[in-house]
């Protein structure tokens, strides 16, 4: 299908790869500015305690220390989704992450020494570390304005149909409880911020944020300074996976230290700090009841969840909205009810992490599908095929499914692991599968889900795409360049992408919800089309032709049907430029997906397309020791169209590896609010030796709303892996 394209659909090396293999790429941690100071943060010794006194006098007296800040030195502003999070803590601490004081010093060693000299007197308070306990009457209260440790907006309920009726009409009803653990992002590049003020009071922040414009707004709010005085520059990002989708206390702290000292200040987390003080995937306690008819037709689904929010709110508290899509809309289920409550505890707080709640919801649902199939004596693949979403479906939540390759995904993943031959066979090997649905055409959670782009074409044929989008390693820049080269009709090597500076780039929500290829890609395509129109109009005048009769490919302008006679496009650009009343080629694109915000009952079509996938797994289980060996994972993903198949496969491999870790290896062990394994030796991130064979199967459904048919696919890769493994283990034993 992709034969008609010059660049779309061709495996393409990432534009940033050469600089990364030579060590030239500049990550935040590699930056040094003249007079730069090193910031460091003192955190709480207790998960819940009153702060009686903070004595910073000895730290301030240490040579090389330029500033020491505590809550009394800074504005009393609360950050976070629920505005519940003071940047530096006064009065009391609510988790071991809590920032009590911050130091800026001439080097890291001095900063660390200074922290040791700060004396904090605490009065320990009883803590609560289990969200169910936290909601009980008489539990320690974490925030004075959140009775029972719940904020009003942390309760949500959704339904469609009538679950009571649905269960009555079922031949089989099963009920179970699932618990899912803390896991961590484990970006190899830790959290980072570098801040500098110029003499006019303008602030520049170098950051690894994946949402520069919301970050600019959040910083403005946290600092009480106008956002137009804040410039955010993204450095090369050492992995994000959702962890850089929020602003955390260390960032305003870094800026306040820069303001206080008049010097640039950087804060970079140590690995231990990263494990202890950056957000996690949120643990979930989930009760689920599922009903089906004896032929496997799903009748009703009731899900009740309790989320451990930790002590403060970041995006983790909003993940139920993403889980809701899966609960309401994965498979055709006529009756669904979902109740969720997010409770504060004195644990570390959770945030956004690849899949944004969907891995948890999918684990529960897809485990239960297999349990239902077992109860009914059906093949788990057949029950999935029978209930699979289909193109044109509108789900009970108002989700409009346009393209949908779920059936193909299920069949092809099954085929890849020889499902029919291997399922339910004696011996200690087994196969299992799981499916998933995720937004694939943006996600309208803000009033705008758009992205802006500018395409500039210079006199020498260099094409610069200036995009609001964010590349955090996933390869967005390369996909954007492919789209521009394809649409404009120029060689890839002419295209460069600039997307790192809020002073230059147009607005974008950020790299979340697997939206960048779809939304920023559509935006880049519009800008490229505008540039092409401008160039062809100039050519038409110069050549004495009508613009409709001209076309441009590989940088050549020619009469349609006569590609042998051509003029280089840059000549036409110069021609337009060098004349009286001439002009430069400067084009724009703004894309806002045709979606709607949810109503009060959480109904509405928030995405312009939906991604689907199914993964099938073969495992071998040692029934003596319980050791599980994953032999193969077949990951079939409906990506609309793979603009860069090399990058799509890379996302599948990385996602599967993260899902494998979630299913079998990883857990951030948190006991009484303290992280017990804040290092790679004890955290068990998958190594190359843990990786099974992965068969990436790309299903193309050519979505009519996507750029060249593409849908988002990056988060989905990690979503169905863990339940597919669990289901395979069930089949094996």
């Amino acid at each position: 299908m992709s034969e008609e394209f010059s660049f779309v659909g061709k495996p393409t090396a990432k534009l940033d790869a050469p600089s990364k293999v030579t060590g030239q790429a500049v990550y935040g941690h590699d930056m040094r500015l003249p007079r730069m100071l090193y910031g460091s943060i003192l955190r709480s010794e207790y998960p819940h305690a009153r702060i009686l006194n903070i004595d910073t006098s000895r730290a301030k007296a240490l040579p090389g220390v330029k500033a020491v800040l505590t809550a009394k030195d800074i504005p009393e502003i609360k950050i976070g989704w629920a505005r519940d999070h003071p940047v530096l803590k006064a009065g009391k601490v609510r988790s071991i992450r809590d920032e009590i004081a911050a130091v800026a010093a001439v080097d890291e060693e001095t900063a660390r020494k200074a922290l040791e000299l700060i004396k904090v007197e605490y009065e320990e308070l009883p803590g609560v570390f289990d969200p169910e306990e936290a909601m009980k009457p008489g539990a320690p209260l974490i925030h004075a304005d959140a009775p029972d440790n719940i904020q009003e907006k942390m309760r949500q309920s959704y339904f469609h149909g009538n679950v009571q009726k649905g269960f009555q009409e079922s031949d089989v009803v099963i009920e179970d409880r699932f618990r899912l653990p803390f896991v961590a992002h484990c970006c190899l590049g830790t959290s980072f911020c570098l801040a500098s003020f110029n003499p006019s009071g303008d602030l520049t922040v170098w950051s690894s944020t994946q949402m520069p414009f919301l970050y600019q707004r959040d910083l403005s709010m946290a600092l009480g300074m106008p956002a137009h005085k804040i410039r955010v520059i993204k450095t090369t990002i050492g992995g994000a996976f959702g962890s850089k989708l929020d602003m955390y206390p260390f960032e305003p702290i870094c800026i306040l230290l820069a303001k206080e000292t008049g010097c640039p200040v950087r804060i970079a987390f140590s690995r231990e700090e990263e494990f202890v003080a950056s957000p996690t995937r949120q643990p979930v306690i989930c009760d689920i009841k599922s009903g089906a008819r004896e032929d496997g037709t799903l009748t009703a689904r009731q899900v009740s969840m309790i989320l451990d929010n930790g002590a403060y709110s970041s995006w983790g508290a909003t993940t139920p909205l993403v889980m809701m899509l899966t609960i309401s809309s994965l498979y055709r289920v006529p009756n669904v009810k979902y109740d969720v409550v997010v409770a504060y505890t004195n644990n570390p707080y959770s945030g956004a992490m690849r899949g944004y709640g969907n891995p948890q919801a999918t684990f529960v649902l897809e485990s239960h599908i297999d349990m239902l199939a077992h109860e009914l004596g059906l093949d788990p693949m057949e029950i999935r095929l029978k209930n699979a979403n289909q193109p044109g479906d509108v789900t009970g939540q108002g989700v409009k499914i346009t393209t949908c390759g779920l059936t193909d995904c299920i069949q092809e993943a099954a085929e890849s692991v020889s499902w029919k031959q291997k399922r339910a066979k004696p011996g200690n090997r087994g196969v299992g599968m799981a499916s998933m649905i995720h937004v694939g055409g943006g996600a309208r959670i803000y009033p705008s889900d758009g992205c802006g782009s500018t395409v500039k074409v210079d006199d020498f044929g260099k094409v610069t795409l200036i995009s609001g989008s964010t590349d955090m390693g996933q390869g967005a820049d390369t996909v954007m360049a492919q789209i521009v080269a394809e649409e404009l009709g120029v060689p890839m090597e002419n295209v460069t992408v600039i997307n790192t500076d809020t002073d230059i780039t147009p607005w974008d929500v950020g790299a979340h919800a697997s939206r960048t290829t779809f939304v920023a890609g559509n935006s880049a395509r519009l800008a490229a089309a505008d540039a092409k129109r401008q160039i062809l109009e100039a050519a038409a005048v110069s050549m004495g032709e009508s613009v409709e009769d001209l076309d441009m490919k590989e940088g050549r302008i020619y009469r349609k049907g006569e590609p042998e006679e051509w003029i280089p496009f840059e000549k036409m650009v110069r021609g337009k430029h060098f004349q009286l009343e001439g002009d430069v080629i400067l084009a724009r694109g703004w894309y806002e997906p045709p979606t709607e915000r949810q109503d009060k009952e959480y109904r509405g079509n928030i995405s312009a397309a939906y991604g689907f996938a199914a993964q099938a797994v073969e495992v071998e289980v040692d029934t003596e020791t319980g050791e599980v060996k994953v032999l193969k994972i077949a990951a079939a993903h409906d990506v609309g169209r793979a603009i860069n198949p090399l990058a799509v496969e890379g996302q599948i491999h990385g996602g599967v590896s993260m899902g494998l870790g979630y299913g079998l290896y990883e857990e951030l062990l948190v006991q009484d609010g303290r992280v017990l394994n804040p290092n790679f030796a004890d955290y068990a991130l998958p190594t190359v030796l843990d990786m099974p064979e992965i068969d990436s199967i790309i299903i193309e459904t050519d979505d009519p709303a996507g750029p060249f048919g593409a849908k988002g696919m990056a988060e989905p890769a990690c979503i169905p892996t863990a339940p597919a493994i669990a289901n395979a283990i069930f089949d094996a034993v």
Partner: protein, 152 residues
């Protein structure tokens, strides 16, 4: 302060350092070679891998003075005169790089392997990079790239 003289990426350099300074910090902070990354500081992730006398070491745990009079190769020394090393080329072409933070360490572990064993099996490749963590790629394309570089 002590004088450290080593052959770094083929050239002799001398630098004055604190006696307890780690090789990683000297490379990055004293010599400005930022290609070598620190991702854990505890020798557990391999991001800071460099070659000391041809052997892969986690430079965050190696006292810099251990390099006295010896040869050190970092990622900056892989390419020669602007020509990428076959491993670097293969990493680019096979999609072995995403965020890139583990890449320099991966490359150096792979280089050490190919120097002593130009035609490793897939198992030997995996063994050689088993101390290098990557969160982005699931290692698949990294292994492919190393295989491809061997075939050159």
């Amino acid at each position: 302060m002590e004088a450290l003289t080593m052959k770094l990426n083929g050239e002799e350099v001398t630098v004055h350092i604190k006696p307890d300074a780690m090789l990683l910090d000297v490379l990055r902070d004293e010599l400005g070679l930022m290609g070598t990354k620190e991702a854990c500081g505890q020798g557990e992730c391999g991001a800071c891998t460099v070659l000391l006398e041809g052997e892969p070491v986690t430079s965050c745990l190696v006292p810099a003075l251990k390099a006295q009079g010896r040869e050190v190769l970092t990622v900056e020394g892989l390419a020669s005169r602007g020509e990428l090393h076959p491993l670097q080329k293969a990493f680019v072409e096979h999609g072995a790089v995403q965020c890139g933070y583990c890449t320099p360490g991966m490359l150096m572990s792979a280089k050490a392997l190919l120097d002593r064993n130009p035609h490793p099996t897939e198992e030997e490749i995996k063994e050689a990079i088993s101390g290098n963590l990557c969160r982005c790629t699931g290692y698949v394309n990294i292994v492919q790239a190393i295989k491809a570089a061997c075939a050159e």
